[in-house]
Structure formats: C-alpha cells, structure tokens
Amino acid sequence: MTGFQPDQRTGRFAIAVESARDDGSAPVRGPEEGDAVQRAWHGTVAVVRGLAGLDKYDRYVAHQSRTHPDEPLLSEAEFWRCSWDAEGRNPKARCC
C-alpha cells in the first residue's frame, strides 16, 4: 500500500487501497443458507423473477423503506398503476 497511488482513471474516488491477501488462505466464508442445489435453485428463481419483472414491487418496498422510511408505502396494486403510468409517459424503444 505504501507508495501506491490508485490510478486516477480507475479509482478516482478511492480513499484507501488495500492489497489482496494473496497468502493462500481461503476467502472468508459467510453464512450460507441451504446446500448447493438449494442455492442454485434460489438463484435461478431470482434471475427469472427479475427478468420477468416479477420482483419490481419487492424492490420498490426495499428501496422505499431504505430511503424514505417515514413515508407510507403504496400497495402492490397502486404501485403497479403508478409504474404503468410512468411507462406510458416515458416509453422505451425496442429493437428490430
């Protein structure tokens, strides 16, 4: 770390630099739920839900309670109405 300045172009906002452990030790294992099959299944479900947009409301709830915990939450139905209205005002192009 000593003497190393992070590259201005790849770490403009860096305030501290740590070197990788690289001492051959295994990465710290955090708490993991379920076995490998369960984790793979949960991962797949999360990706499919994300692709289909099924997790939009959950994400909104998480975002709202994080950023504006004092404000009331929209119900699921109200949330979808607002988000469709917003989509109508701000359409996204599709490709050919």
Partner: protein, 773 residues
C-alpha cells in the same frame, strides 16, 4: 509495490464500508492460457472446415463452434483491449443506476438479470430476417460477416455507447450527440433517428404481413394475442391487482391454446374465410392496431404483452440453438451461389459488395442498439466494469441468434428457399409455375453438380406439412425462418411430430416481437414528435403528455408516416419487401454511423488518438459500405438496382403507352411503380444526406480535438460508489474475497438493502426530465 500489483488491489470509498472496487492483477493465468489456446485451435479448425468443405455433408455444428470460439476470444482479448485503453472503467464511481436510484427505472440490477433485459431489448426480428434473406448468396458470405462484423463493429458500438451513456447520467444517443457535436449536429442526429425509426416500423410490419397474408392460422393466433393481453391487463389491474406472475402464467397457457386453436380455424370452412386477409387488408389492420396500441393505456396492452414476449423470445432462441446441436442438420445451400456475383438474387437485388452488409444489419452491426445502450441499460447497471459483459457480450448473443437464423435458412431445400423468397411476379404463385421458375435458376448442390429438378409436388407437400395453403412467394424472411425452424424441429423424435404447430409457433414468436416493436416504436416516435413541436413558439402545450388531442394528433402523424410506406410496400407490383429491405438496412447502418461518430468524437476529445482506430475502423467501414449502397440505390443506371433509374424506365414505358412494365401488369400498376420508386429514392437521398452532415460535423470536431491535443467532453462529475458487484457472471478470486468481506460486515453489497447513509441524494426527477429524448 510490485508484489501488491501481482496480487491485485481493493479500493475503498468509505472507511466504514468494505471495498467497492478491485484492480485485478495483470497478465493471463495459466488456466486461461490453456483455455483460450484450446478455443483458438478449435475455432480455427471449425473455420477451416466451413471455408473449405464442399459437398453434401457440411454440418451446421461447425458454424456454431466457429462462431462461439470467435466470440469468446474477442470478448476476452479485444473487448478487454477497449476496456484497458479507452474506457478504463472506474468502479469507485457510482453508475447512474446507483447515483439516481429511485426503485423504478434507475435501479442497480443484478448483472444476470440485466444481461437478459438488455438482450431482450436489442434482439428482435432484425437478426432473424436479414441472415435469412442473405442466404440467397450462399452460407459463407453471411457467416463471415455476421461473426467478423459483430466482434469488430457491432459489439464495439454497443459497448462504447453503453460506456459513454454510463458516464453521462444515462443520457440518450440524441442528447449525447447534441452535447458532443453541438446543437446543429444534435438536431440532424435527432431528425435522422426519427425518420429511420419510421422506416424501421414500416419494414418490420411488411415482414410480418408477408407471413400472415392468406394464412388463417397465423392471423387467428396473432389476433388472439390482443384479447389475451386485454384479459391479462384487466386481471392485473382489477381482478387480482398487482398479481403479475399469475396473469403471465394464464397468458402463456392461453397463447399455446391460441396457436393450437389456429389449426381448427384453418380447417373450418367459415372461420378460415373470416381470417383469410389480403396484404392490403392486413396493412390497414396493422395501422389501426398501431394507432390504438399507442394511445391505449400501457397496462391494457403493452405491459401484459411484454411479459409474454420476453419469455417467448429467450425461450425460443435457446430452443432453436439446442435443436441445431441435437439434430446437427446439414447445409443444403452451397457455400456461395451465383447470385453473390451477378447481383440478380430474387430476395434482394445487388452484388455481395455492398448489399450483403446492408441486408445483414442486425446481428453484425445494428444502429438501433445504440438507442438501448444509451438511455435504458445504463440506468440499471451496477458497475462500470460490467459494461463489457453486457454491452459487448449482449451483442455477441444477438449475433449468435443471427447465425442460428442463417443455419435455419440454409438447411431448407434450395427450390423451396427460392420459391418462398422470390416475388409473386416471378414465381407465378402456383406449384407448377414456381417449379418452372426455380428449375430455371441453375441451382447447384454443395459439390457443384446441378441440383435435381423440382416437381410441383415439392411445393404443395411442403405447404401441407406446415398447415398452409401455399408457401410460394412468402417473402420477407419470417416465413422462411419459421419453415426452417419447423424443418429442424421436425427431425427430433416426439417433439417433431407437430411440424405445423412449430411453424405457426415460430411465426407467432416473430409476430409478437414485431408487434411490440411497432407499438413501442410508435410511442417513442410520437414523444419525439410532440417534444419537437413543443419547441415552436406558442405550441408548448404539446409537451404535456396528458393533453389528449396533442397525443392523438402526433400518434396519427407517426402512424400515417409508416402506414403509408406499409401500404406502398404491400401493393408494390415489383414486390415491396425486396425494394424496401435495402432501405431498412441502409437506415439502420446509417444510425450506426451516427452512433460511431459520437463515440469516435469522444475518444478524440479525450486525446486517446492512438486508440481512435478502434471506433474509426467500424465507422469508416460502415460509412463506406452504406454510402456505396446508397449511391447505387440513387445513381445506378440499372433499373433493378437504382430507384431513379427504375423511376425513369417506368416513366418512359408510360410515355410510350405500354400496358405492362416488368412485373407491373397494367397502366395503374406502372403509375404505382413510378410513385413508389420516387418515394424510395427520396428517402435514400434524405438518409444519406443527414448522416453525411452528422459525420462531417463529427470530423470537424475531431480535427479540432486533434489540433488542440484534446477537448473537454460532456462527461459528468460523478459521485463515489458505495456498492460492490463482480464484473462478470462468475466472480474472480479477488472479487470473492471482497464479497466475503461484505458478508462478514453483514451488508448486502449489491445495494439491495444498504445501510442508512449508503444511498445517494435522489436527483432522479431532474434527470428523468432531461432524459426525454
């Protein structure tokens, strides 16, 4: 210091948080060396077989292997070069998704999910249709261009535009053009985007009309998607509010029933009559549909159909790729046909240079992707370093779709392929005349021997097998692809028994995303129009999207714009799609020229002159090939190629009082040829002129940058990032180490439930207003 560099580094932006970025150790590991050497050898072998094997047994598997090996090598080395030398992604800097997170359109999204979203947004009917038409020149030219074009041009454009937009608060291409090229350049770019969008919608509509005309099965199943979407919309809004998953499940089940039900309609004497529509009727139906779809609330039609089409799209493409690997079909088209050299192909006129590169636009280089790469995806990406995977990698996936489409077209019997893709004026429309026509084409087998002559039976049997009355002159590419897919799938035991079902499934799948493009495109174009009108003094009211008369008027103008081109195309006595498809390809490639100009200018402004060849190479190639094609379309004295030569020839015929002209059968049709060729010729001039102006302004700015050793660009300040996510699908060793640190700290690194104080001050309202194109 050298020791730490070898091991890699972890960067922090906040003392209270684990690292948010890593600097990977340089060099290529032993494992990677072995892997990529292996891929190189395998890819080279596959290319060798494709290029040299001749005969009856060229397997489609070689194409898949050659393409995939090339993609992986370029993703690892060429995209990495762009990353290191030009982009230099800075993961300590928050992306627009993180900086402006609002839980809606700005939201850091898991990289696998975003990859899927980005792919679904860029992949449509284009990469399916272009390669099918280009197969008339043989499989080799198309394959080479799809793979070489994507790694050096298409994926480079998508990746570079994406990076540009990430550094500019997720701004759209039009806005970036204005910021980097000045007001005049930006204005021309905007007009270019708008007019090109109109032709895109029109040509896609014609493609799907080609698949639906006189096909009661197809018309019924597509028509049913409208009530199914309504039902889903009402269900999600009133019956079980917000239950999007339930509604999607119901929709998918009903959709399968609609396709299967088409078979009953097809064999029912009265219903078959009702759902048999002519191309002109379909053109008007499409225009009315486009108007209604663009003014109806999103929840009723657009949103529910979107839920259906994402899965249809991804699912069908994966299914086709697997089917190719299981069936391992052999090519029936030769490597190169004489149409590549004489330019007289029935699907589109013109020589390999430059028209192959205009026909296969999407799949190798698609300008439209720059509209998705800017504006949409940057608002969802977690880290700058993920742009390589999503921008470059996403486009490689689309190219793979194009290769699959090319394979599906090249395995069809040649007589059937040409019978399907030649206009009605040439085939005569009956099995007997079609057989006479294709037998007169001097078709050769893969080994160069004359192809066995076709019998009329060949055409009638093929049509009956897929549940259609006729497959002759079903131009536009979509029916050919559907036929090729059904042909491949029918060779799989059990699944293949339902050949007619698969044909209509494929038609439905193409129609679904063409319809989505039509109404989303109409909406986007309407907003662009009303925003422009609002700039006229006194017309400010147009800016208000809830002002109904304004919305209806602008929608009507847009629909009349593309609708009249559709009607022109389907009534064209010379066969509309082969006249209009080049215009579509040219428009798309010119949009790519605009996007690459913007990218090139920014690289020059940054003073990276040594690496400016990376965007300059595809820009110059694209501009040369497209201007060459435009030149031929405008100035060629050959009436089958030049719009104005055709116009003059038709005028001369009319002046002489001729009753027929080429495939125009009466004086009224001759008038149509005169009018259509004039419209097409004018559009060609307009597109070429617009893009040349944008390009010249770009060159002027670039030269200024070169003289001054760089210029200020419009990159925004940025804020420190407070989240972490790996750059690629699989985390590296170093990234795993950082992820473990986040886990040990008890914080979710992806920003899903950040600590209080981790989120940024919300500025999304202002950004959103600015971001309306």
């Amino acid at each position: 210091m050298t020791v730490t560099r070898h091991a890699g580094q972890k960067l922090k932006t906040d003392p209270a948080l684990p690292p948010v970025a890593v600097i990977e150790p340089g060099g290529v590991s032993i494992g990677q060396r072995i892997l990529f050497s292996g891929l190189g050898v395998l890819g080279a072998a596959a290319w060798y077989f494709i290029a040299t094997l001749r005969g009856e047994k060229v397997s489609a598997v070689w194409f898949v292997v050659a393409a995939v090996c090339t993609y992986l090598i370029f993703l690892r080395f060429y995209a990495k070069l762009i990353e290191r030398k030009i982009h230099r992604p800075d993961d300590t800097r928050a992306t627009p998704a993180e900086e402006f997170a609002n839980g809606r359109d700005f939201e850091p999204t898991n990289r696998s999910v975003l990859f899927g979203h980005h792919f679904a947004a860029i992949a449509g009917a284009g990469p399916l249709v272009g390669p099918v038409l280009a197969t008339q020149m043989g499989y080799l030219p198309g394959t080479i261009w799809i793979v070489a074009g994507v790694v050096l041009a298409g994926a480079v454009q998508d990746y570079m535009v994406l990076h540009l937009s990430i550094r500019r608060s997720g701004r759209s291409l039009g806005q970036m053009a204005r910021d980097e090229l000045g007001t005049v350049g930006g204005w021309f770019a905007l007009v270019g985007v708008f007019t090109i969008m109109i032709i895109l919608i029109a040509v896609l509509a014609i493609v799907i009309i080609g698949a639906l005309s006189s096909s009661p099965w197809g018309v019924f199943s597509i028509a049913m998607t409208i009530p199914i979407a309504f039902l889903m919309g009402l269900y999600m809004r009133y019956i079980r509010p917000g239950k999007v998953g339930e509604a999607s499940a119901i929709g998918v089940v009903l959709l399968v029933f609609a396709i299967a039900g088409g078979s009953l309609v097809n064999s029912h004497p009265v219903l078959a009559q009702v759902f048999t529509l002519t191309p002109v009727q379909l053109a008007y139906a499409m225009a009315i549909y486009g108007f209604l779809a663009a003014i109806l609330p999103v929840w009723l039609l657009l949103a529910p159909r979107d839920y259906l089409s994402t899965f249809m799209k991804v699912g069908t493409i994966v299914f086709l790729a697997l089917a190719i690997l299981i069936v391992r079909p052999v090519m029936s088209m030769p490597a190169v046909t004489h149409f590549a050299l004489d330019g007289k192909g029935p699907a589109f006129a013109g020589n390999l240079f430059p028209f192959l590169f205009i026909t296969i636009a999407c799949g190798a280089l698609s300008g439209f992707h720059s509209l998705i790469s800017s504006g949409t995806t940057p608002k969802m990406i977690q880290k700058e370093s993920q742009a390589r995977l999503i921008g470059y990698g996403g486009m490689l996936t689309e190219s793979f779709v194009a290769i699959s489409a090319l394979i599906a077209a090249a395995v069809i019997d040649q007589h059937l392929y040409f019978g399907m893709n030649a206009p009605l004026g040439l085939t005569g429309g009956t099995p007997a005349t079609a057989a006479t026509y294709t037998n007169g084409l001097h078709l050769l087998t893969g080994s160069g021997a004359p192809l066995q002559a076709a019998t009329p039976d060949l055409f009638s049997t093929a049509a009956a097998e897929v549940g259609e009355k006729s497959i002759i002159s079903r131009t536009g590419g979509a029916p050919t692809l559907a036929f090729g897919m059904a042909h491949i799938l029918s060779q799989i035991p059990i699944v293949g028994a339902a050949k007619a079902f698969w044909y209509h499934f494929a038609v439905m799948f193409e129609a679904l995303f063409i319809l989505t493009t039509v109404d989303a495109g109409t909406r986007v174009a309407r907003f662009m129009l009303s925003d422009s009108l609002a700039n006229i003094p006194g017309w400010g009211k147009f800016r208000d999207p809830s002002w109904r008369p304004g919305a209806w008027l602008c929608t009507a103008i847009v629909v009349v714009g593309w609708g009249s081109i559709v009607v022109m195309g389907v009534t064209d006595p010379l066969g509309g799609i082969n006249m209009l498809f080049p215009l579509f390809g040219i428009a798309n490639q010119l949009l790519a020229a605009i996007a690459l100009t913007v990218v090139f200018v920014v690289v020059m402004k940054k003073g990276l002159f040594r690496w400016a060849w990376i965007p300059a190479l595809p820009l110059l190639w694209d501009l040369t090939i497209t201007m060459w094609a435009s030149w031929q379309k405008i100035f060629s004295p050959n009436a089958s190629l030049g719009y104005w030569a055709l116009n003059a020839a038709a005028r001369a015929a009319k002046a002489k009082g001729a009753q027929t002209f080429s495939t125009a059968k009466n004086p009224h049709e001759i008038d149509m040829v005169i009018r259509n060729s004039a419209v097409q010729g004018t559009l060609s001039i307009l597109y070429a002129a617009l893009v040349l102006i944008v390009f010249l302004i770009g060159v002027w700015v670039a030269v200024k940058a070169l003289r001054q050793g760089g210029l200020a660009d419009a990159e925004t300040e940025g804020v420190p990032s407070k989240i972490f996510a790996p750059a690629s699908f699989v985390p590296t060793k170093l990234e795993k180490e950082v992820l473990a640190e986040w886990q040990a700290a008890g914080v979710n690194p992806s920003g899903d439930d950040r600590l209080p104080g981790m989120h940024h001050v919300s500025r999304q309202e202002t950004v959103q207003e600015e971001n309306e194109l």
